[in-house]
């Protein structure tokens, strides 16, 4: 007996009585699709850099490289954090500037973006 009639790739017409036989590869396909999707987000938060760094290391991002940049007439330290193919850049003004509001630019999965935003209190 044909339990599932394929409609198109990844979609199946399942009878009410056959819900227990739902193929498990559908959610897996969806997860794989979500992993491949990258989005960008930039946030400016009024939290110390140390808190941002702790939050990033907790979710597995490692510091890859740093550079000193000058933008808007101010000196910034730009730090690049990497985890697989996801990247986060954190720019913080150098010196005694007040208030300190590091700019965090995330290029990663929607899940990573929400974790980072939550981690830094955004």
């Amino acid at each position: 007996m044909n339990l599932c009639k394929p409609l198109d790739s990844g979609t199946f017409n399942i009878g009410i009585g056959n819900l227990a036989f739902r193929p498990i590869f559908i959610p897996e396909t969806r997860i794989n699709r979500m992993k491949g999707v990258q989005k960008i987000k930039s946030i400016s938060v009024l939290v110390p850099l140390e808190r941002v760094q702790v939050s990033l290391s907790k979710i597995g991002f490692m510091l890859d490289d740093t550079a000193t940049i000058v933008a808007d007439g101010k000196f910034w330290s730009k730090m690049l954090y990497v985890r697989g193919n996801e990247t986060i850049s954190v720019s913080e003004e150098i010196g005694d500037a007040y208030p300190k509001d590091p700019i965090i630019t995330i290029c990663g999965s929607p899940m990573t973006i929400s974790k980072v935003v939550k981690g830094v209190g955004g």
């Binding site: 960008i40 550079a67 000193t68 150098i94 010196g95 700019i103 290029c107």
Partner: protein, 184 residues
Amino acid sequence: MPLYECNEHQFVENIRRLLESKERFLVNRKIIVHDDARYGPATMPDQEFMRYETICARKSVNSTVYSKVPFVDSFHGGRMHDEGENLHTASALLFPRISVPYYRVEYSVNVWGGTYFFAFDALFNPEIVIEKRTGRRLGKSGALIHVLRYSPPEERVLAINLPKEVMVFDVKHMVRVIDHSSNF
């Protein structure tokens, strides 16, 4: 055609909005090396100046910078500096004896006739080593001397990381064309 300047946060968020609106667009990037004495040790914040403290000293930001030891600036053709030499001052920036090379990085996106850009300068990283050098002032047998080198920052740290569906084109120069067709 208007030109709008953004900071990093604004520029990235604008690109995110464009991506979410399914608008088709292209990001242009220009990276050019400059060594025009725009940046020098006198005007740097203390945290950045610390990288030069082996060879030079100053009282505070914008104070005159003097060399602590003789050294060779290998980036600028092996220029030799003596101990106690006035290297850089905030008041005479056009005539410094030492300057920091940098990349001028410009990202821009054209949407609906307007150009939105974000630009910044990335300073080269100094590296100070002691080497044996020969020359007129160091003798034929050579002598140990401090050498200042500069290395460019890695491209991956300069880049604004964007999703793969965003195309980034590298350009040398952008020529602005005035569109008179709207006057008729």
